[in-house]
């Protein structure tokens, strides 16, 4: 029983580690925080293996856990420091600033950061995690229709703020950091 549980968890860990790490890296201001989010997310998952859905749904469920963990971090639960040092070191270079378009990205980034948290998360789940409405509904624990409405509003607000700042909407996509 325990062996089966462990094997299931190890398989889930292998399949989702990069996704959860990516989720955390894209949202945390420093690698230490990202490493903590990853560690805590999987620790919770291990304790709640009975609640993890099967198949692809597991990843979306994990995003939901990571989101809660991240929210706790952001609420200032100062309980880490010097933890998760190795993982943080491995991903530290990912935090080097992009060389190209840094000025424009800075403006867009600032506008994005100033959006309401729910808008940021919705746009991120689409643009960074590549999720559709149904999958986002799983992550957020709400209906697909609610996601549709909130996403529409988030896009609208973001577009308005970019237009107000004079950012061109039609620049080519450059997902990820510059290579």
């Amino acid at each position: 029983m325990d062996e089966e549980r462990t094997a299931c968890f190890e398989a889930l860990y292998a399949a989702t580690f990069k996704h959860i790490l990516g989720y955390a890296l894209r949202r945390c201001d420093c690698p230490q925080d990202a490493a903590d989010v990853v560690a805590e997310t999987f620790a919770i998952t291990w304790r709640r293996m009975d609640a993890v859905p099967l198949g692809d749904q597991a990843r979306f469920w994990l995003y939901g856990v990571a989101r809660n963990v991240l929210a706790n971090h952001r609420r200032g639960m100062a309980r880490r420091q010097r933890l998760s040092v190795a993982l943080a070191a491995e991903v530290a270079d990912l935090y080097e600033p992009s060389a190209e378009d840094s000025a424009q990205l800075s403006t867009i980034s600032q506008i994005f950061r100033d959006l309401p948290e729910v808008d940021r998360e919705l746009l991120s789940l689409v643009a960074w995690e590549g999720l559709d409405r149904g999958e986002i509904a799983t992550v957020l624990g709400c209906s697909r229709n609610a996601v549709r409405i909130r996403l529409h509003r988030a896009r609208k607000r973001f577009g308005q703020e970019l237009a107000r700042a004079g950012e061109s909407p039609g620049r080519p996509a450059m997902a990820g950091r510059s290579q």
Binding site: D2, R5, F9, E10, Y13, A14, F17, K18, L21, G22, L25, R26, A35, D36, V38, A39, E40, F42, A43, I44, W46, R47, R48, D50, N68, V69, M77, R79, R80, R82, L83, S84, V85, A86, L87, A89, E90, V91, L94, S98, L105, I108, F112, L123, S124, A127, W128, R155, F158, G159, L162, A163, P169, G170, R171, A173, M174, A175, G176, R177
Partner: protein
């Protein structure tokens, strides 16, 4: 007004990393050690039904458990207080140097690489919740596999050489054809240190307890035995 696709393009540009760039990281040392530490955290089958949200979660203990092992991969040393609070009782752990498995009342360690960095041995024992420091020192053939020194903590320990291959080998004559097996009582507590003999490399001087740092062994410990 920007359309939806362009909104997401702009957001996508802000991603500092894509998942594809993280391929393989799950098999790195830190990720594997984190995994080992998480599954080492005992889950009690009598726990109530899965809790909603994070209200019932014990963050401190889990964070310590995860962090202790991760930090260990860098520093090799973690305070005992972290271990006692955060480490559980994983039943097995293996790396390139050692394999540790729980067998009834003992943790049985099989040395896969006697010349490995001793931190690898520490890592494995920590993953199963024990603070055991193994040092292998070059000795004459008759002392290979024998315990030479012990200090700290409490608990039983024994060691032996067993044939590595499918065919029996005389380990006293050909210690290189044998694997060192160390049994450490599951009740072992505290930080314990064991020095054991390994086969010397060609030209390598034998270990001399009077020269090397550490507690000098009692004469009978070297001549008589190891608990084998």
């Amino acid at each position: 007004m920007m359309d939806a696709r362009n909104a997401e393009r702009q957001v996508a540009r802000l991603a500092r990393v894509r998942d594809e760039e993280l391929n393989g990281l799950n098999s790195g040392t830190a990720a594997r050690t984190l995994l080992a530490s998480i599954v080492a955290d005992q889950v009690h089958p009598c726990d109530p039904q899965p809790r909603r949200g994070l209200a019932g979660w014990q963050p401190r203990r889990l964070v310590l458990a995860a962090a202790a092992v991760i930090a260990m991969t860098v520093a090799g040393v973690v305070g005992l207080s972290l271990l006692q609070d955060g480490m559980g009782n994983a039943t097995s752990y293996a790396n390139s140097a050692i394999e540790v498995t729980r067998e009834r009342d003992f943790f049985v360690a099989r040395i896969k690489d006697p010349l490995a960095d001793r931190d690898k041995y520490v890592e494995a024992f920590r993953a199963v919740g024990k603070d055991v420091r193994i040092e292998l020192v070059p000795v004459s053939p008759r002392l290979v596999g024998q315990r030479l020194q012990a200090s700290g903590g409490s608990g039983q320990m024994s060691s032996e050489l067993v044939s590595s291959g499918p065919n029996p080998a005389d380990c006293e004559l050909k210690p290189a054809s044998c694997t060192m097996v160390i049994r450490i009582s599951a009740e072992t507590t505290g930080t314990v240190r064991y020095t054991l003999g390994r086969a010397a490399q060609p030209g390598e001087a034998y270990w001399d307890p009077d020269i090397d740092a550490g507690m000098p062994p009692a004469p009978h410990e070297i001549s008589g035995g190891s608990g084998r």
